[in-house]
Amino acid sequence: MNAPVTTTGVRTEPRRTGERRRPSRGAAGAFLRGTAGAAVLTLAFEAFARLELVDARLLPPATVILPEALRLLTEPAFLVEVWATLVAVLGGVAVAAAIAVPLGVLIGSYRLAALGLTPIIDSLRSVPGIAIIPLLVLVMGQGLQMKVTIVAFVALWPLLFNTVYGVRSVDPVALETARSFRVPLLRTWWRVVLPSALPLMLTGLRLALATGLTVGIAAEIAVGTQDGIGYFILRPSYAGFRADTVFAAVTLAGVLGYVLNWVTVAGAARLVAWDGKGPS
């Protein structure tokens, strides 16, 4: 990324990547690059584990974790737990989105709403979700309802803030245009403000899914629920010295997050095809 600068002080054109050089388009190229990235990460971890700074039974190398992860993937018992977690995470994120989008549009559009609600929101969202788990357990037990609530609580904030900032960065000329045609407020929100904020909201959604997943699993671990990936992590860890299974389950949780993200991105690609092409 360094621009070659000749000694005479004449500026030469910095090499542009991407534009001229034919970008290897399509799924194949992306897949190859992605695999390369994943391979580097795996190798780095493997090398670190092989240094044996840490007892291999406590932190096994990738070559131990990955086959175990593959085995888990074929184990119906594990897939059932994945489903349990997934339901909680998707449910929670859906609840969060249902709250965050209207609220975010409101706060992003009206200075008064922002002024009045920001103190409450900023205080609330600094409350660690994990700290309120015991209180949630008290009210709703250790089951699905509790998990959905805690996921919704943590997924709310990235969605909310990305909506607010997205709404605020709508091009003022676009808004003036809508106003000049007397497009009703709700319709303006729906057709002008939301599409324009959509790319950032989708980023919020991706964050919310990942956060929701990690916290959902954290909640499963923290309250020792009866199901979910967290339970599947907790059980072998309570058996002792089953780091391979524990880390295999952790790895698969990461993979699940990756898949969720991928689905979101793929789904979003069509929605925001215009992004980065025109103004706003």
Partner: protein
Amino acid sequence: TPGTATTTTITISNPANVSNVPLHLAIDKGYFAAEGLTVKADVDLGSGSTVEAVVGGQVDMAWSNVVSGLSAYAKGLGIRLVALTDTAVTGSQQVLVSKNSKARGLGDLKGQKVAVLSPSTICILNVRSGLKAQGLPADTVQFTPVAPPEHANVLDSGEVAATCTSDPFRTLMIDRLGARPIYDTSSGELSGYAVGGYLVSEKFAAANPKALAGFRRALLKATAYANANPAEVKAALPEFTTIEAGVAGKVIVNTYLETADPVALRPQVQRIADAMVTYGLADKPIDVSGYFVPNAS
């Protein structure tokens, strides 16, 4: 629904440990059914939230260690003890140091950290009483709560000088990491302490005296059976705990308490309550007389 007088279903949240074997035996052998009870035992893996679940009425009953239960009781959370399960024997909980450690006894840990499983555990009482016996001040070592599965990690990485660990982790750490016990918590002033028992909410106790009496009878029967058949206890362990069969054989099994009348257990519990005050886990004396669910029959 739980909490009404007609209830015959009891849901129990219990950790997957040795203490809860009789409960599962009682279920398997139909002792509860014989008392007209349906007992559903949910294995809870090491969470800190079982007391909350009991108070909030999300479960009817939960197993908790005696110190945790007492401290919740002392904070006025409205819980009651239905039954105690077992008492510690030598080897059931030990202070372990790593293979390379030079420490020989508690005194050698001066100024260092010991991992315990929670900030309210009997281990703290025991270690402090051990220190006192050697004429050392209570703050000779610091305690830091670490979930039992992490004990091996924190000891291996040298983050703590010692861990206070129960089975099965104790056995595993000795076996696999070469950890070495330097102190047995049942050796001191509190030797033979009660490990834990079943808690219900005040409301539940008041509403279901008959069911709880039935529960006690069935549990007592299972307890007697367990004490008489240690081999079967070890065989049952892998079924409902996470302990693997290979390890289960080496696990130390506590003595299960065969006491029909909870009031007889009062001195046992009061002794621990007093120790909590002495060793700084409670700031004022705890009177345990109201702690027990009275026997209805």
